[in-house]
């Protein structure tokens, strides 16, 4: 493994070649900036670019690469002079800024920008010095374009009075020698407010957080750069991908975070995702978030801390009350925090609800405060299981549909859906579903020696549906059992076999034979060589169970829970419970039945720690489906609400249009 140091907090100190190697997602932005710098070196166009994004998003990385590429381009290097200001220094007057720019130029091009020019104005009256030094800078620049690389522009503006901003703007307008590439954490009044001198002056580009794919790509590039075999391997394992997904879901796509975590991700002494997560929290995440907090104004820090304490979205009024201040001052700070990427909001009716954009910040702070990893660990565990399905889909693409449990679920659902469609006209128990053939006719086909295997299976399937409609559960179970025996033959459609299991489960439950019903779950897994019971399988079982009455259902749930705990697949059950909420439309679920379903689960599942998160989601989801009140979901933490919105198919657009 090669030791290559990537300075997480000061990318400008890293080797520029390494920065170039690990660049992801910003190539177009970088090319565009370079084209404009090139254009400004051969025309009178002068560009003033402002890259906006939260700390760690990659702004300095971008500036470092602009600097590098200009240096490497011979033509450009001859026409452009670079002044790259130290990011930690700010100035309160334009004269000081101009001197800093000059010093930077003098350090890089001492023959062209002699440092004596600075000496010659020291001690003069400020206005005199500014006039004299302005002339110096312009004369020394000759025909070059000065590329001003200036970070934390917002911090400069915070110190500049309006008069000083007018000095700066006036100089730039009178002496078009500068093309600027600046960065800021967020948009700030000095550039976005109509009455400010620099309103509309900068061409702002927002740096977006990395997507999960881009994050993975960046980590892989780091691993290759560092010749880090274990990390490369880890990124290709389900554990690695699963961990990345969970981190991304909870923390978003801030590149600095991933550079910071890259070493731990590849630490194979950590057994699983939970161990790794706990190590991350203890070793790095706490200081990472504290460092980010330090950069905020005092009231902004207080607001973030309030949001860390609350597990749900919070109104402006609540925050103001917590901090003993006015709604107005909280609102304006929240707006800035939104610009910096710290908070996100949801508008419901006239009320706006705020929360931290990165739930991980809140979770990490809670660990620090309570000293307990448990709530975070349970959530991570649940999310890991939740994302397993997505990971499977991503890796297998369309092949995913070959997965047994998925096919079983699809088959069960489609059979049941067809069954429901016929239901209105077939709801009388005495009316057979097969209008063309009576039960007697079907029996004749089944018993005939001339019948092919396939015809026999189809007839059995039709007859089993008839028995179900007639509530003849014994005959239903019996027909399904025969069908399953036939299913080992190739001619029998897999869908028919899966449907037979589904309906037999239903029959067992109706007959009170719960252990047998639950055994059928394992049957899917055993016969199809799956290592464990998957979420889809459990979900189909839930569907069968949900068709029964409440008391049968309760008994079945009790037994199911026992078996699930025995098998150690609590997270799969949790996932299935949440996912199943999203099928409520398909199943034509009655809301009162949904409420019963929820209350049984809340009662029986409470003792299983891994079900804490899914039961919370089930409860909120049920309440939401019954009341349609968005506040119900706003009571959940952001990360859990995101899952539920996905399951219930609530789009952001419909969400914001909801009236609370």
């Amino acid at each position: 493994m090669t030791v290559i140091r990537l300075h997480q907090f000061s990318p400008q100190r890293s080797n520029p070649d390494d920065l170039e190697t690990i660049l992801v997602a910003r190539a177009a932005l970088l090319d565009n900036a370079l084209e404009k710098i090139r254009n400004s070196s051969v025309t009178k166009n002068r560009y003033h670019l402002l890259f906006v994004g939260q700390r760690g998003i990659g702004k300095t990385h971008l500036i470092a690469l602009i600097n590098r590429r200009v240096e490497l381009d011979k033509k450009l290097r001859n026409k452009v002079r670079i002044a790259w200001l130290n990011e930690d220094e700010t100035s309160s007057r334009f004269l000081h800024l101009l001197i800093r720019i000059y010093r930077s130029l003098a350090a890089r091009y001492p023959d062209e920008f002699p440092i004596q020019d600075v000496q010659s104005v020291l001690g003069l009256d400020a206005s005199e010095a500014l006039a004299k030094f302005s002339n110096s800078v312009v004369q020394r620049a000759k025909n070059h374009t000065i590329l001003l690389l200036i970070e934390n522009l917002d911090a400069h503006f915070a110190k500049f009075s309006i008069e000083e901003q007018r000095n700066w703007r006036g100089f730039v307008q009178d002496h078009p020698i500068f093309t600027t590439v600046a960065t800021a954490q967020g948009l700030f009044d000095g550039v976005k407010k109509h009455d400010e001198p620099f309103y509309g002056f900068f061409d702002t580009q927002h740096l977006q957080p990395l997507s999960i794919e881009q994050t993975s790509e960046m980590l892989m590039k780091i691993a290759i750069l560092q010749d880090n075999e274990p990390m490369q391997q880890m990124l290709n394992t389900p554990k690695g991908q699963s961990m990345l997904r969970v981190i991304h879901f909870l923390a978003g796509g801030n590149p600095r975070l991933y550079v910071l975590l890259s070493e731990l991700i590849a630490d194979d002494t950590l057994d699983d995702v939970i161990d790794t997560f706990e190590a991350m929290v203890d070793q790095q995440l706490t200081s990472y978030y504290q460092e980010r907090l330090r950069w905020l104004a005092p009231l902004q820090q207080d607001i973030v801390q309030v949001l860390c304490r609350f597990r749900s979205a919070v109104s402006v009024k609540q925050i103001a009350e917590e901090l003993f201040t006015t709604n107005q001052s909280i609102s304006s700070q929240l707006k800035e925090l939104k610009g910096f990427g710290y908070v996100t909001f949801t508008k419901v009716g006239r009320e706006t609800w705020y929360e931290l954009a990165e739930p991980l910040m809140r979770l990490v702070m809670q660990v620090k405060e309570t000293g307990s990893h448990q709530p975070l660990s349970l959530l991570v565990e649940f999310l890991q299981a939740w994302f397993d399905r997505e990971e499977l889909e991503r890796k297998m693409g369309l092949q995913e549909r070959e997965c047994t449990s998925w096919r079983y679920l699809e088959s069960a659902l489609s059979t049941y859906d067809q069954f429901l469609k016929q239901w209105p006209e077939l709801r009388q128990p005495d009316v057979p579903s097969s209008k063309l053939r009576t039960i007697e006719e079907l029996t004749e086909i089944i018993e005939s020696r001339k019948t092919t295997l396939k015809e026999k299976a189809e007839a059995l399937f039709s007859r089993s549906l008839d028995f179900m409609l007639m509530r003849n559960w014994h005959r239903l179970v019996s027909d399904c059992t025969i069908l399953l025996e036939l299913s080992s033959e190739d001619d029998i459609s897999e869908n028919v076999a899966f449907s037979a299991i589904f309906f037999r489960q239903l029959g067992w439950i109706r007959l009170g034979e719960y252990p047998k019903a639950i055994d059928d779950i394992s049957l899917i897994s055993k016969t199809k060589r799956e290592q464990t019971i998957s979420k889809s399988t459990i979900e189909a079982f839930l569907a069968a169970m949900e068709l029964t009455d409440a008391s049968s259902c309760e008994k079945a749930i009790e037994l199911l829970l026992e078996r699930i705990v025995e098998l150690g697949v609590e997270n799969e059950l949790g996932g299935a419970l949440v996912e199943y909420l999203g099928r409520s439309e398909l199943f034509g679920k009655k809301l009162d039945k949904l409420a019963d379903w929820n209350s049984i689960w809340q009662r029986l599942g409470a003792s299983v720690p891994q079900l804490i998160v899914p039961l919370r989601l089930l409860d909120a989801g049920t309440n939401y489906l019954i009341t349609k009140r968005p506040e119900v979901l706003l009571g959940l933490p952001l990360e859990e609400r995101k899952i539920l919105k996905e399951v219930l198919n609530i789009s952001d657009e419909s969400w914001t249009n909801l009236d609370g």
Partner: protein
């Protein structure tokens, strides 16, 4: 047109400042007879017009352009007028006889920032201005030329001086500009600024100022580009930025119209489009609407709403009702405005006429020759509808 790149808010090469030729021709005609005060909304392109005028003046004209916003005293301002004149006159400072006399044979000092007399005192700014203008007038007359001072950010200058040296000095500077520009036929000034000079004047008037520095100047409102120029600019920028679109002509037409033909907004909107995507008119509309609806955008059209309270005081709700009505109906004559607005607020005819006039003066609305009121800039109407959840009517 060569490939041009988006540059919202930046400094443009004069060859890339499009669509202003006719206006500039008209400005030179006006300047033949009198000075000009150019006033319009911020970011409409006033500074760019000056840049283009300076880059290519007609035969017989010399131009000086200066951003006065960075001067904070009358002395700094006077010195800049002197320095700038010296740089463009044939013979430079030597050609400025009266200023040389002021320095005296013993040699006054030209210290950057101010001019000092032989006795070490700062030269009186009014005298510096007077002598500079006399020298300039004399010098250009010899070559049968005229000089145009393109002074940008004049309101900032006046505001700076009022803060640093007091309102009375600011008033004197204004009066001096008016007086000198009337006295010398070879000298013209074209004044403008990011904010309207009338805002600064209003503040000075409250302190007792009763001068009218602009009353002999031609008031010119440049306005947005003509539609065909705006479309051409949008098309050139789409091409220059290699933005793929289903029909680039239609896209350009949509962009120009949607942002009210204002070049800054055309640059800005196109700068938000990505090369990696294929656009249609609909998707460009979505980008624009998203930008305008984003609470944290840097277009600050919110400004048009916020300032109503300050500008209109008790009539704020009437102004809002009028703007709502016209945002929904696109254009309305007086009777229709009255009919729609009276559903929401009780208002007399005269009051309504007064507020409508003010809304036109403050660049919210324009009143056409056909008697129709419409938004002056289409993008403001679009933002108004989005921010107030109004649907465009028929």
């Amino acid at each position: 047109m060569k490939n041009i790149r988006t540059n919202p808010g930046g400094q443009l090469d004069p060859s890339e400042i499009v669509g202003r030729d006719e206006l500039i021709r008209r400005l030179w005609e006006v300047l033949d007879g009198r000075c000009v005060y150019m006033n319009d909304l911020r970011r409409i392109g006033k500074t760019q017009i000056m840049v283009k005028m300076k880059a290519d003046p007609p035969m017989g004209w010399i131009c000086v352009k200066r951003d006065l916003g960075r001067f904070h005293t009358a002395e700094e301002f006077a010195r800049s007028a002197y320095e700038d004149s010296a740089t463009v006159l044939t013979g430079g400072k030597k050609a400025m006889r009266k200023m040389s006399e002021l320095f005296g044979k013993a040699g006054g000092m030209e210290i950057p920032g101010v001019i000092k007399l032989p006795d070490g005192s700062v030269a009186p700014w009014k005298e510096v201005l007077q002598r500079t203008f006399e020298d300039v007038s004399e010098s250009v007359a010899k070559t049968n030329q005229r000089i145009l001072f393109l002074w940008d950010e004049v309101p900032f200058l006046i505001d700076n001086i009022a803060k640093r040296q007091g309102e009375h000095v600011a008033m004197e500077v204004l009066d001096s500009i008016r007086s000198f520009t009337q006295d010398f036929d070879q000298i013209r000034v074209l004044l403008t600024g990011s904010i309207g000079l009338h805002h600064v004047l209003k503040a000075l008037q409250q302190k007792g100022y009763n001068g009218s520095p602009l009353n002999r100047m031609e008031l010119v409102r440049p306005g947005p580009l003509a539609p065909h120029d705006a479309i051409r600019l949008a098309k050139d920028l789409l091409d220059g930025e290699s933005i793929r679109s289903e029909n680039s002509q239609q896209s350009a037409e949509f962009i120009a119209k949607a942002v009210g033909n204002v070049p800054f907004y055309i640059h800005k909107l196109i700068s938000r489009l990505k090369r990696s995507e294929d656009y249609t008119v609909e998707s460009i509309r979505s980008v624009l609407n998203f930008e305008l609806a984003d609470l944290n955008n840097d277009w600050d059209l919110e400004h048009y709403r916020v300032r109503l309270g300050e500008y209109y005081g008790d009539d704020e709700s009437l102004a809002i009702a009028i703007l709502d009505a016209i945002a929904i109906h696109t254009e309305l004559d007086f009777e229709r405005v009255r009919s729609v607005v009276s559903n929401q607020v009780t208002v007399g005819e005269e009051k309504l006429r007064t507020v409508l006039k003010l809304l036109c003066k403050d660049h919210y609305l324009e009143h056409s020759a056909e008697g129709k009121y419409a938004y002056y800039i289409a993008i403001v109407a679009r933002w108004w509808r989005i921010s107030r959840d109004l649907k465009k009517g028929r």
